[in-house]
């Protein structure tokens, strides 16, 4: 299972944080700081995997945002890259050519989409269409009440 998923900018500003394990606030802050430092120190053409404590860290840079997640030992790293990519695709579909500003100003929507895609550190839906439909319906519900 995934332990956490973080999105942060090239300046190290956090844009989204999803924790699938209970951790005290202080530990979370420390982890965010560690991840940020590690990712930003990586040279451009190195591989996307790291070892940190007993977890595998998978990260990918999309434009100005770093997407970073932590996996357990038996999880498939190559698939994690696909998971991150799928999330970006979902955001792209929803916002239309998503950029960092979209995520800054609509962070709650980014969370809602993530919650339709992942739960408890696992994938809950593999169909892009299905997720898009659920979000649309939820938004509609919000509009009409």
């Amino acid at each position: 299972m995934m332990h956490f998923l973080l999105l942060f900018s090239r300046q190290g500003k956090l844009r989204l944080q999803k924790w699938f394990l209970p951790l005290p606030e202080r530990d979370r802050k420390k982890i965010v700081k560690d991840m940020t430092t590690m990712m930003l120190a990586r040279k451009p053409r190195t591989c996307n995997f790291l070892h940190w404590k007993d977890l595998k860290i998978v990260y990918k840079r999309y434009a100005s945002l770093y997407f970073c997640c932590a996996l357990e030992n038996q999880d498939n790293e190559l698939l994690a890259l696909e998971i991150l990519h799928r999330y970006v695709e979902l955001l792209d579909k929803y916002f239309g050519n998503v950029c960092e500003l979209d995520i800054i100003f609509n962070f709650e929507k980014a969370y809602f989409i993530l919650d339709e895609f992942l739960m408890g550190g696992e994938i809950q839906e593999t169909s892009k269409l299905s997720i898009a439909k659920s979000i649309e319906a939820s938004d509609m519900l919000q509009e009409t009440e």
């Binding site: 053409r45 038996q74 890259l81 962070f107 739960m119 408890g120 696992e122």
Partner: protein, 820 residues
């Protein structure tokens, strides 16, 4: 009170702040507004305020005063409120907060809501961060939803169940009935989450595992459909249909097939199919192949499949994509133990990866290279590894150096090569070498006796170049101290000998003592080395006084260790000068206890004589057995009479011979007791009793067999004294004393002994091989005999060759035989 500003506006405002202080000010102002708004219990804008609070929380500011507000939002009827409320709960209200449990009731209500999206929110929140108490309370609801026909809810309920099981494993049983027809779903979301649920259950409980093994055919079918089915736009990723589901199924198959022949058999075909048919041009295909390889390696697959898997990994190694190379190296590392030969085929590719730019890949390649080193490829591999050591980052050097040492020790083709390799490591990565390698290296150097001159010469030259690398300096000082005489004598077979004088050597060592680069430990080594050279070098008064001066200076050193050494050495010069040569003489070869394993009966410490003895006595072992049989027949069974003939060995062919019961199986009395055997004259007592019937007068450990004279003829008398070895009472320690009452010394005295197979014999080296004349001294030698079955035995001389020549005497071997 004006309406609170919108979220968008807040974000925009905060982003205009140019300094951290400005931002903080804005945030504090807004927080104050939000707090007063909360106090007014304003329902309309609560949602907006909490959203703003969550934004500020993400920037790193405290937001705990919004926790209760989240609860209120969750309890609201509006979907908008619930959405933000649950989001706030997930961000602010993890199970460590006291307020957490208050959510339980709200979630329970929402799980039964009429709108599926509300139910979805509740399930999501519970499944991401529900505490154990909440899970216990709400497990029933989740289980109910697991059986619903609504696939949107069913998939969420499945993952929620996974979370419940993780938090409260005892509740696993509860979800078992609901899993019955999970796999017959068409909906991929439900399928995927069901496989996750099944995986979690199988991982946690062996009973569940055996229960779910029957699902293997169904899983295989689903996987097959995914591969064979045509293009499905909904689930397609670069031409592959639902890779996420495929990988999850492969993972479940791995768990189900592990250790089970039938299941593994059932999945062989599909695994082969996936392995050969998957597109490898994109990352997606490789992700599936990777999972397939992991599965093949873990289950009981047939060898053809395993070879296929390793070949896939080999192909991965050649891929341009770094991630795939990394993954391949990691997997190969896991399989190298079990499928060593197959991995060896890819050795050259792996070694090439040492030159990769990526740090993670280099590390994996290094670990794998060490795992692949063997006797055949050691030379080639070592060249590559040494090159790698030269050029790698400092983080790697320590591990690489240790790895090289280990590999060199195991597979060194020659001593010279071994020492050269060590020298290379010390000179290139000297400061990164681990502390324990210094003693290990020293031990290795002492053991290669022929290489001493070469080694000390090379180390000396290395010291002249560079004294900053402490392990190198320490080993070098030690060697110069030990073998300084070889160094100055200019004898070196392996390479051109250098001409160096004693004074130059002392200069170098003194240089080490005063240098700022030397650590206290290194200084200690050099001081001791200088001291040792006082005996190795020729005893010129100027040199001795120089050494004495150095030693006395350090008698007042601040470093306690150095001071102690110097003071002691000083005392050695002053009061104990007669002992100095003996104390400082060449070290004997050190036994390595660790890696070779303790041998039960170790051949002795390198002395050549005993080894000759031992090899000689081996062929004798078989013969005594046949001779013993005859005597056994004559003597009969247990109740025997130990007939002792002490001094003169009579013709051994006769019925008596010398019979000594050396190792009675029970304890033995101190003195002799007369036996009922009639005809043999009991001249001298020390025969040993038939311990079967006597009362023990001493306890076993202390039982001592009285000494006896084993041979006394022509002036040569050999006495045996016995005792039991203290730690191991099965070992008898026999000490032989040989004395010579003739007028001429007996030279080349050699004692041999043979034992039957059930015994083990260890002959330690004799004190000397000259037995001085006229009983002026004796030669002693210790023999250890291990009698694991505590069988009684006796000793008799070999029937023939009883004579000896006066100059060289060879005692006929004593044979330990056993009765019955």
């Amino acid at each position: 009170m004006p309406a609170p500003i919108r979220l968008r506006e807040l974000i925009r405002t905060i982003r205009t702040a140019r300094t951290q202080a400005e931002e903080r000010e804005m945030i504090q102002k807004e927080c104050a507004a939000i707090r007063s708004s909360f106090r007014e219990e304003d329902n309309t804008y609560r949602c907006r305020n909490v959203a703003k609070l969550l934004y500020m929380h993400m920037l790193g500011y405290p937001a705990h005063f919004g926790q209760l507000e989240c609860l209120k939002l969750i309890a609201s009827q509006k979907f908008t409120d619930k959405r933000i409320g649950y989001l706030g709960a997930m961000l602010l209200l993890d199970e460590r907060q006291d307020v957490h449990l208050l959510m339980t009731n709200c979630i329970k209500n929402d799980l039964n809501h009429s709108t599926q999206y509300v139910q979805g929110l509740a399930l999501c929140t519970l499944g991401c961060m529900g505490s154990s108490e909440m899970c216990r309370d709400l497990a029933g609801e989740v289980e109910k939803l697991l059986k619903t026909s609504n696939s949107y809810l069913r998939k969420k309920a499945a993952l929620c169940a996974v979370h419940v099981i993780r938090k409260v494993p005892e509740l696993m049983e509860m979800f078992l009935p609901a899993t019955k027809n999970l796999l017959s779903e068409k909906n991929h979301g439900v399928l995927h989450t069901s496989v996750v649920l099944l995986t979690e259950m199988c991982e946690r409980s062996p009973d569940m595992l055996s229960h779910f093994r029957k699902l293997v055919p169904q899983l295989v079918r689903i996987l097959k459909n995914l591969i064979m089915s045509g293009y499905s736009p909904e689930h397609d990723v670069s031409g592959i249909s639902d890779p996420f589901l495929q990988v999850r199924i492969l993972r479940l198959l791995r768990i189900l097939g592990k250790g089970d022949d039938d299941s593994s058999e059932a999945m062989n075909d599909i695994l082969a199919q996936v392995a050969t048919n998957t597109e490898t041009s994109k990352n997606v295909g490789n992700a599936i192949l990777y999972e397939t390889v992991l599965t093949i390696m873990d289950i009981k697959s047939e060898s053809g499949l395993r070879v296929l898997a390793i070949n896939i990994l080999g192909r991965f190694l050649l891929n341009n994509d770094k991630n795939i190379r990394y993954v391949a190296l990691t997997s190969l590392l896991k399989t190298v133990q079990t499928d060593h030969n197959a991995v060896q085929r890819h050795r050259s590719t792996i070694v090439d990866c040492l030159k990769d730019l990526d740090v993670s890949i280099k590390r994996r390649a290094m670990e794998l290279s060490f795992a692949l080193v063997n006797g055949n490829n050691i030379r080639g591999m070592m060249k590559e590894l040494l090159y790698f050591l030269d050029s790698c980052d400092p983080d790697f050097k320590a591990d690489c150096a240790s790895g090289i040492f280990l590999a060199a020790e195991k597979y060194a083709p020659s001593k010279r090569w071994h020492i050269d390799t060590i020298m290379r490591v010390l000179t290139t990565a000297g400061s990164y070498v681990r502390d324990d390698s210094v003693p290990n290296l020293i031990q290795l150097i002492t053991n290669s006796v022929q290489m001493h001159a070469y080694t000390v010469q090379r180390l000396y030259k290395a010291l002249l170049d560079d004294i900053s690398q402490q392990p190198l300096v320490q080993v070098a000082s030690w060697c110069i101290g030990e073998y300084g005489d070889l160094l100055v004598s200019g004898q070196c077979e392996e390479e051109e000998p250098i001409q160096v004088s004693e004074d130059e050597v002392l200069d170098v060592l003194e240089g080490l003592l005063v240098s700022n680069l030397s650590t206290p430990v290194t200084r200690g080594y050099s001081l001791t080395a200088i001291m040792k050279l006082s005996t190795r070098f020729t005893c010129v008064p100027k040199r001795m006084s120089r050494i004495k001066k150095v030693v006395s200076i350090y008698g007042s050193s601040i470093d306690v260790e150095l001071q102690q050494r110097a003071v002691e050495y000083n005392a050695l010069f002053k009061k104990y000068d007669h002992m100095r040569p003996a104390l400082l003489e060449r070290m004997p070869i050190m036994e390595k206890t660790g890696t070779n394993g303790p041998a039960e009966i170790v051949q002795t410490n390198g002395e050549t004589e005993s080894t000759i003895l031992d090899t000689k006595h081996l062929p004798n072992i078989t013969q005594p057995a046949s001779q013993a049989n005859d005597l056994l027949d004559l003597l009969g069974g247990n109740d025997v009479v130990p007939v002792i003939q002490t001094t003169v060995p009579t013709k051994p062919a006769s019925a008596g011979g010398e019979l000594l019961d050396l190792l009675g199986d029970l304890s033995l009395t101190g003195g002799p007791t007369p036996t009922p055997a009639p005809s043999v004259p009991m001249s001298q007592p020390p025969f040993l009793l038939d311990g079967l019937t006597s009362q023990p007068l001493f306890n076993d450990i202390a039982a001592v067999i009285p000494p006896m004279t084993a041979y006394n003829k022509n002036g040569l008398k050999i006495e045996f004294t016995f005792e039991r070895s203290n730690p191991n009472p099965n070992i008898a320690v026999i000490t032989i004393h040989a004395t010579n009452s003739t007028e001429a010394d007996m030279t080349e005295f050699v004692f041999q002994a043979a034992v039957p197979k059930t015994f083990q014999l260890q002959l330690l080296s004799p004190s000397s091989n000259v037995v001085p004349a006229l009983n002026q001294g004796s030669v002693t030698q210790v023999i250890r005999v291990l009698n694991p079955q505590k069988v009684r035995c006796y000793c008799e001389p070999r029937p023939h060759s009883a004579s000896y020549r006066s100059r060289s005497s060879e005692i006929s071997p004593f044979i330990l035989k056993h009765l019955q």
